[in-house]
Amino acid sequence: MSRRPGFLVYGLLLAFALGSAAPLYWSFLLGSHTKQVAAQGVPPLLPGGHFLDNAQRALDTVPFWKALGNSILVSSITALSVVFFCTLAGYAFAKLRFRGRGPLLVFVVATMAVPTQLGVVPLFILMSEFGWTGSVWAVIIPWLVTAFGVFFMRQYLVDAVPDELLEAARIDGCSQIRVFWHVAAPAARPAAAILWLFTFMQVWTDFFWPLIALPHGNPTIQVALNQLQSGFFKDYSLVLAGTTLATVPLLVLFIATGRQLVSGIMQGAVKG
């Protein structure tokens, strides 16, 4: 309904936005006060000056930098792989004609609803067989492709690449892979960027499988936060300083790319 909203709408939205931001501020606030102040309940509502001290203590108790490196590695490799394989498959589903295309696409959509997380036991057995448990590869491999990615790229490419253009390229003697690489892939770029971002954030925030697959000494950032909290749950200034610190990377990514994220979610929704 395209109407000019009144004060009530602005007021309610502002309240919702403040509610969205408040817990993050709370995390920073408690993380910036001393352990003693944080233990006394609600601290002064302005930040104290102890954030760096607390963060330093958090860095001393868990292998934070190692975890950060692992998370960056795992998230970027998987995001890249998802973008590559899913663009390729999405392109085939959107633009190429082949027998079985319809049923196979239905299959892809159906698998989006499969709770693959429940396959952890065999996945663990599999990774142990290969000797990958404990290494970041155990976390990377299950994420190399996603059904959502295939569907998302397919939906985008159906409209983004005109069939005439592909045909012209074929008539000019381009092989299929060159048509993909020189015509479809450049057109897919905006959607690929969004898919990259999404996968990156999803893998970054994943917890259940990394907790199982990775040992204490080689965690991702979520597993490290878990260690921090389990060891020091009485010391909220330490734990929340660490939590704030661990949230900063995605926060920065969000500030830089929030626009694309919003449009990506909305695109995926309408076409999905």
Binding site: M1, S2, P23, C86, V114, P122, F124, Q176, N226
Partner: protein, 336 residues
């Protein structure tokens, strides 16, 4: 059936398909060979392009899920590996475990507390965003902010906000003259606290999905409704809601699948050393039980039996949702 044969059919041809990318000598080859090559290229390339997805997904997604059923029928320890076939004994042991029913009820309770209010609020926020706001992008980004905070971080932050003694929520309650609530020890209160975490993280995200659906509603529907004398509320109920039904189904089903597997939030909300969902497992969930059986009691057989039952439960719930939505008339026959 056709799926498998087709996917397999694509693979043996891989070597024959790959030549085209390398620019073959253009003039020397005979046209017939080139044409045959081009025909193969057109015919088999699609299978080549989709096969990485299907092969990888089969290996890391579908096979483990199916193999879970196999493991669940065996005596299978984390360290000792596969043991004897024991039929349904693992299932019997899991069902006899008093925590199973308790954690099942917890899971469903947390799920209902997080999905129902979430969808109502998300639709409301979406309706407010679907107006000619100033600074539109800014508002949309602001509701999405919680999405960047990982469930683990959310659980830690809200664990502090919902602290039993000095938490902000209890201090606020005291401020308006109410008694403190034992958020961690009371069963229902702990479910409310955990559902709040889920709602906080996902409401804005779902609001954007609903917003997208609302913007796809043809504007002239509103105009004619207005001509018919429908007020804003009536327009929302009679035009907007019916038009976003398919999206509603999508959101409800995805939140069912995700919600019933909840793990990080209840696990990190626990401040006891066992971290099994509170001293009496008042907020332990089924996925936590999978972890508990498998990696604390080191019994992969019982872990698999539990995971498999949760899988069936998710399927049942997804179906029930679908049927319920149909029954309530939320899903008309006129959907595309």
């Amino acid at each position: 059936m056709s799926r498998r044969t087709l996917v397999r059919g694509g693979e043996p041809d891989t070597p024959r398909v790959s030549p085209p990318p390398t620019p073959s000598p253009p003039t020397s080859t005979r046209p017939t060979a080139r044409q045959r090559l081009a025909a193969w290229d057109v015919r088999f390339s699609p299978y080549l392009y989709i096969s990485p997805f299907f092969v990888l997904f089969a290996v890391v997604g579908l096979f483990p899920l199916a193999y879970t059923a196999y493991v669940s029928l065996h005596d299978w320890s984390l360290l000792g590996g596969q043991g004897d076939f024991i039929g349904l004994q693992n299932y019997r042991e899991v069902l006899d475990n008093p925590y199973f029913v308790k954690q099942l009820v917890n899971t469903i309770s947390i799920f209902l507390l997080s999905s129902v209010p979430q969808i109502v609020i998300a639709v409301t926020v979406a309706a407010m965003l679907d107006t000619r706001l100033r600074g539109r992008t800014w508002w949309r980004m602001s509701v999405l902010l919680p999405f960047v905070v990982s469930p683990v971080a959310v659980a830690i932050i809200f664990g502090s906000l919902f602290g039993d003694r000095y938490g902000l929520v209890n201090e606020l309650l005291a401020g308006i003259g109410l008694d403190a609530i034992p958020w961690h020890t009371d069963r229902f209160a702990s479910h409310v606290a955990i559902a709040t975490m889920v709602n906080w993280r996902w409401t804005g995200y779902n609001a954007l999905i609903f917003l997208a659906a609302m913007q796809a509603v043809p504007r002239d529907l509103y105009e004619s409704a207005e001509l018919d004398g429908a007020g804003r509320v009536r327009q929302f109920l009679s035009v907007t809601l019916p038009m976003i039904r398919p999206t509603m189904v999508f959101v409800i089903i995805t939140s069912t699948i995700g919600g019933l597997q909840i793990f990080a939030e209840p696990r990190l909300f626990d401040e006891t050393n066992a971290r099994n969902g509170g001293s009496d497992r008042q907020f332990g969930t089924i996925t936590m039980l999978v972890y508990d059986f498998g990696w604390q009691l080191r019994d992969l057989g019982r872990a698999s039996a539990t995971a498999w039952m949760l899988f069936v439960l998710i399927c049942v719930f997804a179906l029930l949702n679908y049927v319920a939505i149909r029954r309530l008339g939320l899903l008309g026959g006129d959907d595309r």
